[in-house]
Structures are given as C-alpha cells and as structure tokens.
C-alpha cells in the first residue's frame, strides 16, 4: 500500500519558511546581475561592432552608393572601387563548396546514423569533427604545398580533357584559383554541415522508420522515404550555416585563390573574395576612400553573414520545435 507522508505540522514556522540568510539573498541577486551583465555585454558588443563597421563605411557609401555593388573595378590608384568581383568570387567559391560538401555531409551522416556498425559510430564521428579543429591557416598551407600542385598538375588537366568544352573548365590549369579555394572551403564547412545533419537525422521518429521497414521497405527506401524528407528542413539549415561559415573565411581562401579581382567563368582562373581582400589589403590601405571602401565590403559581408546565420537558426529551430 502506498502511503503519503503526513502533511507537515503547520505551526508558526514550517520547515520551508526558514529565514533566508542575507548572504544567500545577496548571492542570488548578484548572480542575476552578473549573468545579466554578461548577456548585455555580448549584445552590446554586436551592436557596437555593427555600428563601427557601418559608421566607418559611410564615407564610401556616401560616395559610391549602391552602384558600388555592381562596379567591377577595384583600382586604388585612381580611387575606383567596386564590390562586384568580390561578390562573385565569394558567391561562386561558397556555392561550389556547398555543392560538393552537402552530398558528402548527408552521405556521412546517413552512414553514421543508420548504416555504420555500432562500434564505429563514435570514433568516426570524432574524426569527422576533428576536421573542424584544423586551423584555417594550416589548411591554406596544405592547399598551397600539397593540394594545389595535385590540382594543377593532375586533376585540372583531367577535368579539362573531358569537360574542357564547358566555359567552366576552359583556360589553362593552375595550382591557384577558384577550384582550389572552393575545395579547401569544402573541407572547412564539411564538419559543421555534417554535425548538424547528424543531429537532425537522429531525431527522426523511430516509429516512422520502423513502420516503413515493417511495410517491407529496404534500408535505402526507408532512408529515402522517411528519414530524408523529415530531415530536409534541418539539412537546409545546416547548409545555410555552412554558407555563413564559408563566406567569412579569409585566411585559407586568400592563400589559394590567387587574389585577382575579376569575374571569369572558368574555375581554373584566380579570383578574389570579400573576406580575403579585406584581410590582404587592410593594413596597407591608405586612410580615406580606399580604407572606407574596404569597410564597405566588410559591411556587405556582415549583412550576408548575419542573414545566413539568422535564416539557418530559424530553419533549424522550426524543425526541432515540431
């Protein structure tokens, strides 16, 4: 028989109405204040940084206006500056990286959540996430010393021989260029897309999966009909996060992309990205229009990065709150 304990005797002082010590009261108040301050400082920092960027960019914004975004030339000597070639370089390198990384990430996640033997899941998962631990400058060095020559001497000529009729693979192969940068970026964004996708795949309701299998579906059919459609919004969120990471990458990309602000169709050609250009030129940019134009580039980058991150969070939250 279950007995409930007798109710506490109600007298002048119940066991719970003990006088709260002053130190505890102050401590609670203090905790609230301190942690509140920490949160406030973080929020204030974001506002401060955004304000500084837009404030310092305002001379260039005032001078060039929105035409800056469409202008192709970046010429410090005559003072003509335009973001178009960097927008193109950033967009193409990130898009290409996503194109390669997303199927790879989904494949790895499917393997690790559905198909791998149990003892393998954790170690392989750790290895994939360790890819994120490689400092960006080391990836850049590897890109220059190892990957670039392989790309320029073997992979690109191979692509050219089969697909050289496409403008995307025209021109002469080079160790430095858009393809090298895009593939290095792939390595950098793979871990984040994989880890978010894995989480999302793990949340697929087991009941739906078992139902599909019970109805006679093969493993692949179950993944295709139940797991992936449920996970699709989450994968979109992961892709957006990877995109946000990719567009901001300055060090590794600027080491291998060739740094030539131009808009060309071929992936073998050198190009330039916004983050890479800012990192390269800022220390030597003379104060005035040049420096302000670089900060204008930074402002554009900040907007895109913020949008990508916000969109990613909204999409991922939408799927998990279900």
């Amino acid at each position: 028989m279950i007995t409930t304990p007798p109710p506490p005797e109600v007298s002048g002082h119940s066991p719970f109405a003990v006088r709260v010590k002053l130190s505890d009261r102050l401590g609670e108040r203090g905790l609230k204040v301190l942690t509140g301050l920490a949160a406030l400082v973080t929020a204030a920092l974001i506002v401060w940084i955004a304000y500084t960027v837009f404030d310092r960019a305002s001379p260039a914004i005032g001078k060039f206006g929105l035409a800056f975004i469409g202008h192709k030339v970046w010429n410090p000597v005559v003072g003509h500056f335009g973001a178009a070639s960097f927008l193109y370089g950033t967009a193409v390198s990130s898009a290409l990286a996503l194109l390669v990384a997303t199927p790879l990430a989904v494949a790895i996640s499917i393997y690790l959540t559905e198909l791998a033997p149990n003892f393998l899941r954790i170690p392989m998962g750790i290895l994939v996430e360790l890819l994120a631990a490689i400092p960006s400058v080391i990836l850049g060095l590897w890109g220059i010393l190892v990957f670039g020559p392989i790309l320029g001497n073997h992979i690109e000529p191979f692509l050219k021989s089969f697909l050289g009729w496409l403008p995307l693979f025209s021109g002469s192969p080079s160790s430095y260029g858009m393809l090298n940068a895009a593939l290095i970026l792939t390595i950098m964004i793979l871990p984040i897309i994989t880890s978010v996708t894995r989480e999302v795949l793990q949340r697929t309701p087991t009941a739906s999966k078992e139902a599909a299998l019970a109805l006679g579906a093969t493993r692949w059919e179950m993944i295709r009909m139940v797991v992936l459609p449920t996970a699709r919004p989450g994968i979109v969120g992961a892709v957006l996060l990877g995109f946000g990471r990719g567009i901001g990458e300055a060090v590794a990309v600027s080491m291998v992309i060739g740094n030539q602000p131009q808009i060309k169709a071929s992936f073998f050609q050198p190009m330039a990205t916004m983050a890479g250009q800012i990192a390269d030129e800022f220390s030597s940019a003379n104060p005035g229009t040049w420096q302000s134009s670089l900060i204008y580039l930074a402002a554009i980058l900040l907007i895109f990065s913020a949008l990508a991150n916000i969109a990613a969070r909204l999409v991922v939250r939408h799927t998990t709150v279900k």
């Binding site: 030339v73 970046w74 010429n75 410090p76 000597v77 005559v78 220059i144 010393l145 670039g148 020559p149 320029g152 002469s172 080079s174 160790s175 430095y176 600027s254 080491m255 060739g258 740094n259 030539q260 602000p261 131009q262 050198p270 330039a272 250009q277 390269d280 030129e281 800022f282 220390s283 030597s284 940019a285 003379n286 104060p287 005035g288 040049w290 420096q291």
Partner: protein, 354 residues
C-alpha cells in the same frame, strides 16, 4: 565548497596584483633612470620592407641610449594612419606621402632612411637564371601583352637561349607593398602605357596574373607555378636562390642586383631635396651611372615637426644614428648604405624636428 572557491578567488586576486606590481616596477626603472627631460619610449609603426633593418637597429641603439623603441610592422598604410593620429612617435612608409596624406598628417617630415631594391624572379622549366629583360618588355608582360616565354621580344634579348612556349604567369603582391611601389614606379617610367593604364602605388589594379600575400606568398606562387614571373624584394630572391632576371638599365648594361649596383643607382642622386616634404625617385637612374641597378627604392620615416616634450630630441638622435651608424647593419639584409648626399640632406631636415 564555497570557502574553497572564495580562497581561490582571493589567491588569484593577490597573484594578479603581484604580477602587475612586478610589471610596473620594471618599467619604472627604465623611465626613472634617465635624466629629466629625456624620453623613455619611442613607438613606431609602418612598412614591413624596412622592419628587418629596424629590428637590427633597436638592440644596439637601446643599449647605448636609455630609450625603449618598439616598432610594429603593420604595413605602410596603417603606419601613415598611426602617425597622422599621433598614436605612435614615428611612422614608416615605402611610398612618399601623397598631398592629401601630407595635409592630413599636419606638417610631418618624410626622411629617407633606408635603401632597398626589388628584383624580378621566375620559375620556368628548362630555363636557368640570368635571362635578360628590358623595362618595356617587363611592362608588357605584366600588362598581359606578352603571354608566352618564347615570345620574339624575349628571344631577341636572349639569343642562344632555348625558350619553351610555356605560358607566362605574372605574379603580384596583394598586400600593399614597397616592392609594388618600386616596381610600378619603374614600369611607369619606362612604359607610358603602363603609367596610364595601371599607375604607381603600393597596391594597384593589375590587369591579370596571380596575387600572393607578402614576399612569402609570392614566393610560394612562384615555386609552384611553371612559367611564373614575379617581382620580389632582393633579399628574398637571394636568400631563396630563385632564378632571377637581369634588367637593362639606362646605360644599356644588365647589372647583377647587389648592394654595389644599388649603391651605384643611389649615387645618381646628387641634390636631394631638403624640405622633408617630398620623396626621391630612384628608379631607372640616368646612363651617367653605368652600373646602376634600375629598380631601387628609398623607404621613409615619417616624423611630426612638433612633438611632445622630450620626444623630438629623442627622435632626432635615433634617426640621426640610423642614417649614419645604423646603415652598417644594412648590407647583410641587402639594404645598400644611403649615399652621402642623401645623408647630409636628411641631417638638414632633422633640424626641423622640435
């Protein structure tokens, strides 16, 4: 648990106070040691080109004079900005100040304090070091007009050398650099078309080719690209034993880049300005100096005319030392000594510092 936490907090607070006390006492000795009116700290920022030489200067100078000199190789542009806002005592720039920069800096003096040179290096399978080039041919290469190594214009300058039909890949610096300034000055002087289409600056809009960051970035592109040709600081070319070009000077000769040929170029400067408000161009020296190396450049220290109490004399002393005794540290780093005409002009300009 709470007590342990409190004790830990107290100990770390004591440690922090102790460390800061030690730190302040050590800086206290340097500032307290000199006689009244002399200054303890000179801070500088700017050019990366001159930074190895400044590092060589700091230790011997600090030992003999009670002053602490710090220099940040942050790039000429940031250096100019830093001295304009007076957050450092002196700036360093590879290019002379433009008129708007000079106005913004409010009576800053620019004093040439080191002499460096830029060379052209290349990496072509089957071709060894020492190819002959002229200025106009180099300009055409970087403008994308000459595209392969066996172009008749290059072959004409190098009869008897078997040149492959490899594509030329011109390499440039992406970060602002004194080497870019020297090289574009030279190309603009020898090629009017280069001057109008690209121009002179520490960072220009190159018509094509690949960019690398810093001498090491450019060196990396050079080494891994067959057919690449690049302009790099002489010290870097010689240290890394790259194949380098011999560029024809105004006298028709092809001098080997060395401290001697750079000094010969500097000897062509006979009456340098003493105003302290203009730079000295040294590229493509006249034929009167037959062994002059054509792509040399002065690099400048930027000093305000009026300074806080005590800083002016300290700056005068340091720069005065750098342009005389300090020059002996140059040749090991492939900086040529300043010619005497420039040193005397500099000493006159130094008198203007208060």
């Amino acid at each position: 648990m709470k007590r342990q936490f409190l004790v830990g907090l107290l100990l770390s607070a004591v440690a922090a106070v102790g460390v800061s006390a030690c730190g302040s006492s050590s800086s206290g000795t340097t500032s307290g040691g000199s006689s009244g009116g002399s200054v303890a700290n000179l801070s500088g920022a700017g050019s990366t080109l001159v930074s190895p030489l400044v590092s060589q200067w700091v230790t011997p100078y600090q030992q003999k004079n009670h002053v602490v000199i710090t220099y940040g190789a942050v790039g000429s542009g940031t250096g100019i900005q830093s001295i304009t806002s007076r957050i450092v005592s002196f700036g360093a720039s590879d290019a002379p100040l433009t008129s708007s920069q000079a106005t913004a800096c409010k009576s800053c003096l620019e004093i040439p304090w080191a002499l460096a040179a830029t060379d052209v290096a290349y990496n072509v399978k089957g071709v060894s070091s020492g190819l002959h080039f002229t200025g106009p041919v180099l300009a055409d290469i970087w403008m994308g007009k000459i595209t392969s190594w066996n172009d008749p214009q290059i072959q004409k300058l190098n009869p008897g050398v078997k040149l492959p039909d490899t594509k030329i890949v011109p390499v440039h610096r992406t970060d602002g650099s004194g080497d870019t300034y020297a090289f574009t000055s030279y190309l603009s002087k020898v090629s009017p078309q280069f001057s109008s289409s690209v121009g002179v600056a520490t960072s220009v809009n190159w018509p094509g080719g690949i960019g690398g960051k810093g001498n090491s970035g450019v060196g990396g592109v050079l080494q891994s690209t067959n057919g690449a040709i690049a302009y790099i600081a002489i010290a870097y070319v010689l240290d890394n034993k790259f194949d380098y070009a011999l560029v024809q000077n105004a006298a028709g000769k092809f001098p080997t880049p060395s401290v001697k040929s750079i000094a010969a170029a500097a000897a062509s400067v006979t009456s340098p300005p003493t105003t302290g408000t203009s730079g000295i161009s040294l590229v493509d020296p006249p034929a009167s100096e037959p062994n002059a190396y054509p792509i040399s450049t002065f690099t400048y220290v930027l000093v305000p005319t009026s300074n806080k109490s005590g800083v002016g004399p300290a700056l005068k002393k340091f720069i005065g030392w750098a342009i005389t005794d300090g020059q002996k540290y140059g040749p090991d780093l492939d900086f040529a000594p300043l010619p005497s005409a420039v040193v005397s002009a500099d000493q006159q300009v130094l008198q203007k510092i208060k």
